[in-house]
Symmetry: C2
Subunit: 294 residues, 2 copies
């Protein structure tokens, strides 16, 4: 079997084009969507992600505000920044780049963001809306991106056995909740497997669609995957590679080379889920803008 | 194999005894837990449930307020009642018996209840706390009761394959979220199966622990259950029975007579999950009282 390579860059470009159309409609009404990204401290990976987000905003004509605060910013100061953004009518989406420095209580910061502007989908109100299948809420960008890839590639999800590997609040749980919901691109039979799962290989082999979000480099092997499965790899792991100029390379949670030949379709890393996450952030920002101004 | 009969009455009595001890401690501090149950209209089943709840409160020395409002109560009038209860310092738990009449927007009513008094666990804040594994929240009483039965009977849940049949907001989803969480009585590999699941019998047969909450009388047959499984039957279905004086009898979602011989342990209906639900409501009321006054 020759696996279809699920091209995240192509899907992301399609989604960005849809966003672009919606932004043009908003602009015609004199409305410009605005996204504020708050970064506390100067973690190199965070700085990179924040820059990518700002760049994508600019490309799309989204008003982008990048707030780079010193590493020693206090909880109170950060709450004040969030409050100002909540009240700023030019801003429709707010996100605080994770992880913040230790003196910051991240849960309290997320709780302070206006749920209507919570484009990361981490606020309690949006978490609950996902469980309650209320489509006015915001769903975290990575699981949304995975679902969109499945839909773009015509993967049948209704009644399919979906195994989600990992139970994090950012990917695993929202992914499972999305796929078990009623409706298009969902209606799946969902299994959430994790570090405590005993017969993990057997559970994974039961998957028609396997979504790996366990954060362990090349954890999923050929023996863990059913012939003809669709595999979505959420992992972005840096592993040492002395041949590479950077001294490392990026691999997913799936041992791509051995797994791919068994699959009906599979995402590469990089170039799979990654580009979808940032595109979904743009889509959530446009949605927030439409809901707030509409 | 001779199945252990999981005795919900006995487990409920144990839980009620624990509540009683905690209430005695509160009383010693001059605090009496208070529960308000609001009933709009006079649906016979609802009237029965409300009466059972009040009766159990009285047995335990919980201050019980039963508000029976006419069927034509408006949304605004009901919101006023909720607001008064939110502000009533003698009340620590509030529940509105479901389903309300058609003119009532149930979601808006639930949203109006102070989350700290939402002993049904239906408020967005409590739904999110369940997802986020924040134990200060309230979890719906029926899934909590099912988990407690498993713990009382020493059923190993860690790494076990739990299949939850049904994806409702009241039982299926919270049940799945409870069992996939970290910690004692949980850490399970959870599969949520439902009406759209294609290979349902096969999925159910994979369960070490099968929790049936699909609302279909005697839906789960012997062939759907693995030898040695533990079966928790959440269903309460009324089926016609001309031999019975009432003209009906109550059956679960599991065909008990044929399934029981294959099980390691199973709950009967009635006398299984049912008694746990009301006991958990008492436990949630005591918890609310302790959190509010503590």
């Amino acid at each position: 079997m020759s696996a279809t390579l699920i091209d995240g860059k192509k899907s992301a470009a399609k989604l960005i084009a849809e966003c672009s159309e919606q932004i043009a409609e908003l602009t015609a009404q004199g409305i410009t969507p605005g996204l504020a990204v708050v970064l506390v401290g100067s973690d190199p990976a965070s700085t990179f992600y924040v820059r990518s987000k700002s760049k994508k905003c600019k490309e799309l004509g989204i008003h982008s505000v990048k707030l780079e605060l010193p590493a020693e910013t206090s909880q109170e100061e950060l709450l004040k920044v969030i409050d100002d953004l909540n009240n700023d009518t030019a801003i429709h989406g707010i996100l605080v780049q994770s992880p913040p420095p230790k003196q910051i209580d991240e849960a309290a910061i997320i709780a302070a963001i206006d749920p209507a502007k919570d484009v990361d989908g981490f606020h309690q109100v949006n978490v609950a809306k996902l469980v309650l299948e209320d489509s006015s809420g915001f769903v975290p960008c990575t699981p949304m991106g995975c679902q969109r890839l499945l839909m773009d590639y015509g993967v049948e999800t209704e009644g399919a056995n979906v195994v989600v590997l990992g139970r994090s609040m950012i990917v695993g749980k929202p992914m499972a909740l999305l796929m078990m919901a009623k409706g298009k691109g969902a209606n799946s039979t969902v299994t959430i497997a994790h570090s405590r799962t005993k017969n993990l290989s057997e559970v994974m082999r039961g998957a028609d669609i396997l979504i790996a979000a366990i954060g362990k480099p090349e954890f999923v092997k050929a023996d863990d995957v059913k012939e003809g499965a669709v595999v979505i790899d959420v992992g972005i792991n840096r592993v040492e590679d002395l041949i590479d100029d950077r001294g490392y390379r990026i691999v997913g949670d799936v041992a791509f080379d051995e797994v791919a030949p068994k699959c009906k379709a599979i995402t590469p890393v990089p170039g799979g889920v990654g580009p979808m996450t940032i595109a979904m952030l743009m889509a959530n920002t446009v949605k927030a803008c439409k809901q707030i101004t509409g």
